[in-house]
């Protein structure tokens, strides 16, 4: 078969500080093919694509378009070379019509007339099978229509190389299959398409070849027909790395939290949590594994009383009284007033966990300011607590009066975890506690969690590193698109099994909402 190369990357690397997002990646894309780029969270897929689309500039390596070396410094440059990227988060002006969004920023030297734009858009729609009304405004559109506008925007500018960043993440199965029909038609038209996805069955269904990335490195590119889902998972998760995290046996486990049939629907009408049921016992760490955005955040927020719940129940078994309390539809304050000792270390440390501009003492007081009878605040106890945390967790800071934003990521996390643990919780929920932390700080956090577990706290740990999950957790619950796809024993679970469950989308079962 005679194939022409549309795009070629040679030895491309990108570093953020000392962290390598991409290292020595080689990639070849042919005209008239669909290449799937597959990998775990944080493996550098999006960074790599952003370098092609001109959002980042590679630190080393070369990019060739149609055999010629090119320098892509901005999205404009990328367009000039016929490269267009459809981002996961749409960049559209809400009050504009489809056509206005499509023509935005185009300087073709022709007289500006929306009528002509509408005509061209309709022609493109007819050619590839889109269905869209060019005069419809974005805020009246469904998610899939908005995506169509994004694709049309790229085609209108004459792109021959299209990059789609997780295009199916927001689509229903029906919309996905319609999108795939359109992509196939573009492929026949000679366009080169890169599609980033986590969903293995979609990779198998749509792609001609698959490039697998792991930890910023290109592992292999294989022909889709010559591979299968198990082989791809193995390439994706890699060999087991031993971390030597201590793990003790749970002592006297008692049921602490029972979640049944939890369902939440977000503003776009998508079920972010779909009939989630599980339980956590005292003295154990329950790990939650899943692709980023599978509903982890919503799950923790639902338990903490920050998320609207559409169905299901959250039962907390109070270890002191032995009574069961339903936490559904309660505010965080009501939950605390019920005597539920729940601590939550959110993913967004400086957004939800701490106030960046306040000092360490004042951040401690966020938890305790309601105590005390006087109209004046008691700063002594929080200050003592802050000093205690700084000492026991080795927080590197000039003092308790330093604003939290001046601390490094690891120290911020220590302050937050320290505060949450200090309230002697019986249920501790942590989301990505070691994200952005160096090895030593990570182990400090693991040890803290283990200590909590040994003292009888039920710990829920949302993580992304499968090696950590399999070494730290007693049980691992895997969620995928808001559904529980399996609960495994942490001591026997293997990464490949978790990886498969993380991408186990059973197509066709989800109905479109709202």
């Amino acid at each position: 078969m005679n194939k022409t190369i549309a795009l070629e990357l040679k030895n491309v690397s990108k570093y953020f500080g000392s962290v390598a997002a991409n290292q020595h990646v080689d990639l070849t894309l042919y005209k008239g093919e669909i290449l799937a780029v597959l990998g775990e969270n944080g493996c550098g897929k999006t960074t790599l694509m952003n370098m092609i689309a001109g959002i980042y500039f590679p630190d080393e390596g070369k990019i060739y378009v149609d055999g010629e070396e090119v320098v892509i410094r901005s999205p404009k440059d990328a367009f000039r070379h016929g490269i267009g990227m459809i981002h996961q988060h749409f960049k559209l002006v809400d009050v504009f019509s489809a056509s206005e969004n499509i023509v935005l920023g185009v300087k073709d030297g022709k007289r500006f007339a929306l009528r002509n734009v509408n005509k061209t858009v309709k022609e493109l729609c007819g050619k590839y099978g889109f269905e869209i009304d060019p005069a419809k405004r974005i805020h009246e559109m469904s998610v899939s229509e908005k995506q169509t506008v994004e694709i049309l925007k790229v085609l209108y500018r004459g792109a021959d190389i299209l990059i789609l960043d997780e295009p199916t993440a927001v689509l229903t199965p029906q919309e996905t299959s319609r999108l795939f029909d359109i992509l196939r038609r573009m492929k026949e038209d000679g366009k080169a398409i890169i599609i980033i996805t986590h969903k293995l069955h979609e990779v198998m269904a749509i792609s001609d070849r698959v490039a697998v990335l792991r930890k910023g490195e290109h592992i292999a590119t294989v022909n889709t027909q010559e591979t299968n889902e198990t082989a791809l998972t193995e390439m994706m998760v890699g060999k087991k790395v031993s971390l030597n995290i201590a793990r003790s046996e749970p002592v006297n486990p008692e049921k602490r939290l029972e979640v049944t049939g939890l369902t939440t629907v977000n503003a776009d009408g998508i079920r972010v949590l779909d009939n989630v049921s599980f339980s956590v016992s005292s003295g154990e760490i329950l790990g939650i594994a899943g692709i980023a955005g599978s509903g982890q955040r919503e799950l923790l927020e639902a338990i903490a009383g920050l998320q609207h719940i559409d169905a299901g129940s959250i039962i907390y078994c109070d270890p002191k009284t032995g009574h069961d309390v339903n936490l559904r539809d309660k505010t965080p304050l009501q939950i605390r007033d019920l005597g539920v000792r729940l601590s939550f270390v959110p993913e967004d440390r400086l957004g939800m966990g701490l106030v960046a501009n306040m000092n360490i003492t004042d951040n401690m007081m966020l938890r305790s300011y309601r105590r005390g009878k006087s109209v004046f605040l008691d700063r002594e106890k929080p200050k003592a607590l802050a000093e205690n945390i700084i000492k026991s967790l080795d927080v590197v800071t000039p003092g308790v009066t330093t604003p939290v934003r001046r601390l490094s990521g690891g120290n911020v996390q220590k302050v937050l975890v320290g505060r949450e643990i200090s309230s002697a919780p019986s249920l501790l929920m942590v989301a990505y506690p070691v994200r952005g932390l160096d090895i030593n700080s990570s182990y400090t956090i693991y040890n803290l969690l283990n200590k909590q577990k040994e003292s009888g706290v039920a710990v829920v740990y949302v993580g992304e590193d499968l090696d950590v999950l399999t070494e730290l957790c007693d049980r691992i619950m895997v969620i995928c698109s808001g559904r529980v796809t399996g609960i495994l024993d942490g001591r026997t679970a293997v990464k490949e099994e978790i990886g498969l469950l993380m991408t186990k989308h059973d197509a066709g079962t989800r109905e479109q909402e709202g």
């Binding site: 999205p75 960049k91 002006v93 809400d94 504009f96 500006f112």
Partner: protein
């Protein structure tokens, strides 16, 4: 005075007065469309008036310069003075990311003070000589158009041109995109900072003309400048009434003009039986009206009638 004559007189005074609001609101709409809420408009109108009057005084004595040239130079000076204020505002908010509200309020305080200082140094004789030039060609006529000078028609023209540019041209589309969603505009290669600067400077220049119009065309008196600040605030309110569209502002300006002078005219029309003592109440009308308009617009909550999406939010370009 009979009823109809009184009402006619009222309208013929209200509509030209409204042009002051029209200048202010057209300028503010341009600025707001780029995503910047410029509360400095009252001050900018004041500075525009001072700049224009100072330029006319510089051209004194009359007779040495052609009347049309006097008007033209005054207009340019007012536009330039307003534009300079706009440049200062843009530099602070666009480049230095200063808070828009604080910057705007500071500019208003500054502008009002600066104008009072300049006007106190000017000799009214030396600038009011140009009044007839501004009211040309109707200055001498007894027709009902005697209130309308060249700047009256220029205001209408400007509003229509601005509406056309905003709604029908590529530049307008890009400007609206910058105000709605600067990140999106940036991603498609629109120079967000340039659009913000140009829109704010031109908008401020237009607002500056409003101040000049009020003194030299509408009021034509020494103390007139004292009312400009209040008219500036109402111009900003008019932007909301006009739903960010200069052609609606055309009608709105007449309404605001009528409300603004209701206190002076309504009690004078004897047939309406409104007592003189209600004048202060009538003077509240434009403000009460603004509150009502805000309530109605908020209740209807139609997407197209909302302020630009990124209004009041400074744009930081993401690190690349």
């Amino acid at each position: 005075m009979n009823l109809w004559n009184g009402i006619l007189d009222y309208i013929l005074s209200a509509v030209p007065l409204g042009m002051t609001f029209l200048y202010g609101s057209t300028g503010e709409i341009l600025t707001e469309k780029s995503g910047h809420l410029n509360l400095g408009i009252p001050g900018i109108m004041c500075v525009g008036a001072a700049g224009g009057c100072a330029a006319i005084q510089a051209l004194h004595p009359a007779g040495t310069v052609h009347p049309a040239l006097v008007v033209l130079i005054a207009v340019l000076a007012a536009f330039l003075a307003g534009g300079l204020m706009g440049m200062l505002y843009s530099f602070l908010t666009v480049t230095l990311h200063a808070n828009q509200n604080v910057t705007g309020l500071a500019l208003t305080t500054f502008g009002v003070g600066l104008m009072k200082f300049i006007m106190s140094k000017l000799s009214s004789v030396k600038y009011l000589y140009a009044l007839p030039y501004f009211r040309y060609p109707f200055a001498e006529s007894e027709s009902s158009l005697k209130y309308c000078g060249v700047l009256f028609f220029f205001a209408i023209l400007l509003a229509l041109v601005c509406s056309y540019v905003l709604l029908k041209t590529r530049v307008g589309l890009h400007l609206r995109a910058v105000g709605e969603n600067p990140a999106t505009a940036d991603a498609v290669g629109i120079n967000v900072f340039l659009y913000k600067y140009v829109a704010t400077v031109i908008g401020s220049g237009i607002a500056g003309l409003g101040g000049l119009y009020y003194i030299m065309d509408y009021a034509g008196s020494q103390e007139a400048y004292l009312s400009i600040e209040a008219m500036g605030w109402l111009s900003i309110a008019l932007v909301i009434f006009a739903l960010w569209k200069p052609h609606i502002s055309l009608i709105g300006s007449a309404v605001f003009g009528a409300l603004f002078i209701a206190g002076a005219y309504i009690p004078g029309i004897r047939e309406l039986h409104v007592s003189m003592s209600s004048t202060p109440l009538l003077k509240m009308l434009p403000y009460v009206f603004t509150v009502l308009v805000l309530i109605v617009i908020s209740i209807r909550n139609k997407r197209e009638n909302q302020p630009p999406g990124a209004l009041g939010v400074n744009y930081y370009r993401e690190e690349r």
